[in-house]
């Protein structure tokens, strides 16, 4: 926790037409740290992750990765630098088997020249290994990913990002569409990513999901940052009040 931040955004501003979506927002993620980005609808959460993931560029402010100032022009560029974002739609193909989804766009090959082919044996093995903790076994990885539960699908998308070298994971509302049990599967997976030294930015408006797992809490309200709080400085109740924009809670905290 005392290590240098891997990903930092410093005093970022972003506006769309006349709307100031982000105003002077800063956030930083260290390896193995779970930063929860909280806020009600319209608080600027989506804009901030678009800036962090390379989908959009900030008007003002600095993005810094591993100590270097960078300009991220696309999600792929962010991915090359170890910033992987799992958006709500997950980028999966329901009808395709799990292992084919796992390697979508990054398929391992075997053979030479015109006989070069998709190394499905290796893909199945590697995917099964990476997904073992989720209860997706060697046989299940060969079934359409659409047959998995919502939590498992979300976890497969996260596992894929981890497998392809993510140092920081940005998870966009990973639990919002899930039931209690399903959300627990995903949060468990986030815990195991954290244990492996991966930094996580967890976007949510669900305090019950965020509080137990987060180390640091960044609360946005109408495009402004209400503050950055360590868990030790903050109770769950205060976090709730902050999210509703009750700034006086900051003073109490």
């Amino acid at each position: 926790m005392d290590s240098e931040p891997y990903l930092e955004a410093i005093s970022v501003c972003k506006s769309y037409q006349n709307v100031l979506a982000l105003q002077d927002v800063s956030i930083s993620v260290r390896p193995g740290e779970v930063v929860c980005l909280l806020g009600d609808n319209g608080a600027g959460k989506s804009t901030l992750i678009q800036v962090l993931s390379g989908v959009a560029q900030p008007d003002k402010g600095i993005i810094r990765i591993a100590g270097h100032d960078v300009r991220l022009r696309s999600p792929n560029e962010a991915l090359d630098r170890g910033i992987a974002t799992v958006f709500q739609d997950l980028a999966i193909v329901p009808i395709m088997p799990v292992y084919r989804n796992f390697f979508l766009g990054r398929e391992p090959t075997v053979g030479w020249g015109p006989f070069r082919r998709f190394d499905s044996g290796r893909a199945i093995r590697v995917a099964a290994e990476a997904l073992h903790d989720l209860g997706v076994d060697a046989l299940a990885v060969r079934r359409p990913i659409g047959t998995l539960s919502g939590g498992q699908r979300q976890s497969v998308a996260v596992a894929r990002a981890v497998h392809f070298g993510a140092r920081v994971l940005i998870l966009d509302e990973p639990t919002s569409a899930l039931g209690v049990k399903q959300a627990e599967i995903v949060l468990d997976y986030v815990r195991s990513a954290k244990a492996r030294g991966i930094g996580v930015v967890l976007i949510t408006h669900n305090v019950q999901h965020a509080y137990p797992i987060g180390d640091t809490f960044v609360v946005l309200f109408l495009g402004r940052q209400l503050g950055v709080f360590k868990k030790t400085d903050l109770s769950e109740t205060k976090l709730m009040r902050l999210m509703a924009g009750k700034v006086d809670a900051v003073a109490e905290a």
Partner: protein
């Protein structure tokens, strides 16, 4: 948020992680294979005496099936990406027109004429694909327009050049050796079209299931947005398949040219629907994401058998279309049910 009554935190472990019988039942080609066996058994039992089982008859229905199947193999891959090509029938006619004119009238050697036809087909295929990916209009409309344009041009140009819409004497003009042998020889009692059909089917099946390109084909049709997000060049995938389908029509044009010994600007009318029928009976989803060249082979075989075998039944052969329609409807119904079943979430979590 849905609350679930089961309080035990289930890690999503599937209770019965078996592929076995269920996997077999959801194979896309199952309907077509079973259908082929049933139809063959029916015709063999009731019209076998009348000649359905004869070698000549077998040759006939294999020829019909092959001329559908050669195009249907790459067309199945295109359907898996979620697109159609309705211009294939008119493209066969264009191929026949080009090669018969160039060889019989203009005196070109076959190889050169064939090369010209291939180049023309590849260009039209690329244009089809380009228009579909750039305009984002339904490929149904784009390729329907191309159907009319190419059919009209084949008829118009040939009439302008020769005053007719057919050119006879192709075999005499080309002779029997050389490149033409690829399309004119026989394999035992059967036409070489059988070999083209099986070979192209195997290639298509290999590409779809064994190569990286195949993974991209599935993804393009299964979820276009996800394919784009994961960096798959979806436009290139589609354009390449349009070119492959167009090139396959030239092969069929050559096979037909030698079989009938005539180039015809009115050839292969309705072939586009026969191709789609074969693919759909073979398990392809018209919405994309799913399909099987092997299934399509059986779909084409089924089509060929019914097309030729119907003649031997006591029913007047005008009822052929009705029978075909019912068969198609049934196949789509079965395939769709199986597909929905195969995508149902399993397990308790």
């Amino acid at each position: 948020m849905t609350m679930q009554l089961d309080s035990r935190i289930d890690r999503g472990r599937d209770p019965a992680p078996r592929l076995g019988l269920r996997a077999l039942l959801v194979r896309p080609e199952l309907t077509a294979v079973v259908g082929t066996i049933i139809v063959f058994a029916l015709f063999a039992t009731f019209t076998g005496q009348a000649g359905f089982l004869s070698v000549a008859m077998t040759r006939n229905y294999l020829e019909v099936a092959a001329e559908i199947g050669v195009i249907a193999a790459p067309a199945t891959l295109l359907i898996v990406t979620g697109e159609f090509d309705l211009s294939v029938g008119s493209m066969v006619a264009a191929g026949e027109t080009i090669v018969s004119y160039l060889t019989v009238v203009a005196g070109w050697p076959f190889a050169a004429a064939f090369g010209a036809a291939l180049a023309f087909a590849a260009a039209v295929g690329a244009l089809n694909g380009f228009l579909v990916v750039k305009t984002k209009l339904p490929s149904f409309i784009i390729t329907l327009a191309m159907l009319f344009i190419v059919r009209g041009a084949a008829q118009g140009v040939l009439r302008m050049l020769t005053g007719t819409s057919t050119i006879d004497g192709v075999r005499e003009a080309i002779g029997s050796g050389g490149v033409g042998a690829l399309f004119s020889t026989s394999i035992g009692p059967f036409s070489i079209s059988l070999l083209w059909w099986i070979a192209l089917t195997l290639v298509a099946a290999w590409v779809l299931d064994k190569t990286v390109f195949g993974n991209w084909i599935y993804a393009t049709g299964g979820n276009l947005a996800a394919a784009v997000r994961t960096g798959i060049p979806v436009d290139r995938v589609k354009i390449m398949l349009y070119v492959a389908v167009a090139v396959s029509t030239t092969f069929v044009a050559m096979l037909d040219l030698f079989a009938i010994n005539q180039g015809n600007a009115n050839a292969a009318i309705g072939r586009e629907f026969e191709v789609v029928t074969a693919a759909v009976i073979g398990g392809a989803l018209l919405t994309g994401g799913y399909g099987s060249p092997i299934g399509t082979l059986f779909g084409a075989l089924l089509f060929g058998m019914v097309d030729q075998g119907f003649f031997f039944t006591p029913l007047p052969d005008v009822w052929f279309m009705t029978f075909l329609g019912l068969m198609l409807l049934f196949a789509v119904f079965v395939n769709n049910t199986v597909r929905v079943q195969s995508l149902k979430p399993r397990g308790r979590s």
